[in-house]
Symmetry: C2
Subunit: 364 residues, 2 copies
């Protein structure tokens, strides 16, 4: 197989390290046997490290969206009120899921390109009493914004009888600091194909003791997503249903790489590369989409210069320079470009991508 | 990596052909780009061949159980009556899922080891009017029984205003003849890791026009499983959410292998190997679990001889001879052994497995 050397700079799936790719070609094993149990233990332990948690970790075979749906159906009952903090496409999607399941979801929207204001979140919850849960997207991939989850969680937890804090950490966990136990995040959902540097196919979820209490009381219908089943099988070092084994083989290797590099160093690398990316973008005379104080360390959103077509820029970067970036989603379609720097990424990867962008901009 | 040569004879995941394994180590691609669209087309076309259908095919990232849940939540509304045809663990599970989602599920049980009787299914539906859907497990992996789906579907369709026919074809499709269009099966669910010879992580589903009408009226809550979203994105040659790309890379190759061998030849191979397996089992003085006329062509269930422990037989086959077979599930735990012959399997694989079984039986 000959393949061109692509520079894949979309916000997931991310390019895979060699060690991960090699592990993927392993043949199948018995997912109810002792070899699987060892794999399960190793991965669970590795995930606890990356999640910085002592809470239970559950492994579901699905995309990240499946994990977000699972979070809702496991801790809530029909008609219960939740606050959906929204500042982009993924916040909107989680709000939509809540609506689809008959929750009374109250949207709290912030302008695209801004982060959520902790004090406003707190006020909105007080107004929405009794509010059972608050849904927060840690890193809003669609706008390149990272919400100040720590401050938001603190504001929420300062309330009497605070709602559960449910976090979409799909494009942050393992790249941007997130401490479920310390910050009081009850359910944190991520996926295998972002900072975890494995292929897509798994969602990974931490569940706090407070969330477990809610799981027992919740009455939304669930079977495949049932956290209780996942925990029961986890105690036997299995998953309830046949898991995406190949993705687990890859994840075991990527978790080793993450341990070797160390979380603090990984966070610092993402921060530095993001700063470098933003500085380079600005030096081309381009404008960042988000207010810079909210700018994400995993994806940079750039305004499309007046008079140019996003689709054409993306197409030419891909066709002429084997560099893959993403466009805007929803109402930002055509208005922004998104260049990711999450997972296996170096300053050189970004320098190459930005050079390509610069070349293409000169010729469109 | 050195790995012993295992003879993996559990009913899925199945051993992967080399061509599939090689494809798994590919690096990630943009799941919203043109390369993915080509992959999506190729896989959809290959699946239509294996499904022997012109109906729509949907691809979900989940295990087969997820696909079975998806089938229910897409065509039914809370409180609707369904008939669950049950003759084993997987039939029970689907019944459980129906209950979890607030359907009025009526179980129609047949003895373990027997197939479902078409006439009794028809009568039960008449008694249960209005019955919105009937759930049938084509091949009951837990007992090694294949139901006569064609005859059951015919009996059901002979009724006035017949219910939708929903089929769990996880351990049959691609190994045992199944014709959704010709037989009138409205939703047929399979998974990637059985006869399709790819790793687990995808469920594949065919949806008839009559099922699509039901999808429009159904009101069970759904988002991740929503067939309408899957179809809308399929029209753009994408999936709604990031799919298990690596599994798709593998599936593309296995579908090519299936085309090369040809479905008829694959069905015949499974039939011959199953017959060989049953004959060999009997020649060892062992007894088949199911009545032989119902015996499955993808998995053979064998009674554990009086006085022997299933767990020990399985453990010694694994530890001493690198041969992995399965035990019984649910109430059959400890009572049967299950040896699979589905997907990439030859007569030699089975001869080796049975020789090992014979050796171990002499020494326990």
């Amino acid at each position: 197989m000959k393949m061109p050397e692509f520079n894949l700079r979309i916000p997931g799936p991310v390019p895979l390290p060699c060690e991960v790719r090699e592990a993927l070609s392993r043949d199948m094993i018995d997912h109810r046997g002792p070899e699987f149990a060892a794999l399960f233990d190793e991965i669970t332990e590795g995930l606890k490290y990356v999640f910085q948690t002592r809470y239970d970790i559950l492994i579901l075979t699905s995309s990240g969206t499946g994990g977000l749906e699972a979070a809702l159906v496991n801790v809530l009952s029909p008609g219960e009120r939740v606050l959906a903090v929204i500042n982009g496409f993924f916040g909107e999607r989680w709000f939509e899921i809540a609506n689809a399941f008959g929750l009374e979801a109250i949207p709290l929207r912030f302008p695209l390109g801004s982060g959520a204001d902790p004090e406003e979140v707190r006020k909105a919850i007080r107004k929405a009493y009794p509010c059972k849960a608050v849904l927060i997207t840690h890193n809003e991939t669609s706008t390149g914004v990272t919400n100040d989850l720590k401050a938001i969680a603190e504001a929420v937890r300062s309330l009497e009888n605070p709602p559960l804090i449910l976090v979409d950490a799909v494009s942050s966990l393992g790249a941007i600091d997130l401490r479920p136990d310390e910050w009081g995040c009850d359910v944190v959902v991520t996926a295998s194909q972002k900072a975890l540097m494995a292929p897509p196919g798994l969602s990974l979820i931490s569940v706090s003791p407070r969330a477990w209490e809610a799981v027992e009381k919740a009455s939304l219908p669930r079977f495949y997503w049932d956290f209780r089943k996942a925990r029961e099988y986890a105690n036997r070092r299995q998953t309830p249903f046949t898991p995406a084994l190949t993705v687990l083989f890859g994840l075991r290797e990527s978790l080793k790489l993450i341990r070797e590099e160390g979380l603090d160093r990984i966070f610092a690398r993402h921060r530095e590369i993001a700063e470098f990316t933003r500085a380079s973008i600005k030096s081309l005379g381009l404008r960042l989409f988000p207010e810079e104080r909210w700018a994400s360390n995993t994806v940079t959103a750039v305004r499309v210069p007046e008079g140019l077509r996003a689709e054409e820029i993306i197409m030419r970067m891909r066709e002429e320079h084997a560099t893959i970036i993403a466009g805007g989603q929803g109402e930002l379609k055509g208005k922004i470009l998104r260049i990711a720097h999450i997972g296996r990424v170096s300053r050189e990867d970004m320098a190459r991508a930005i050079e390509v962008l610069s070349k293409v901009l000169k010729n469109v």
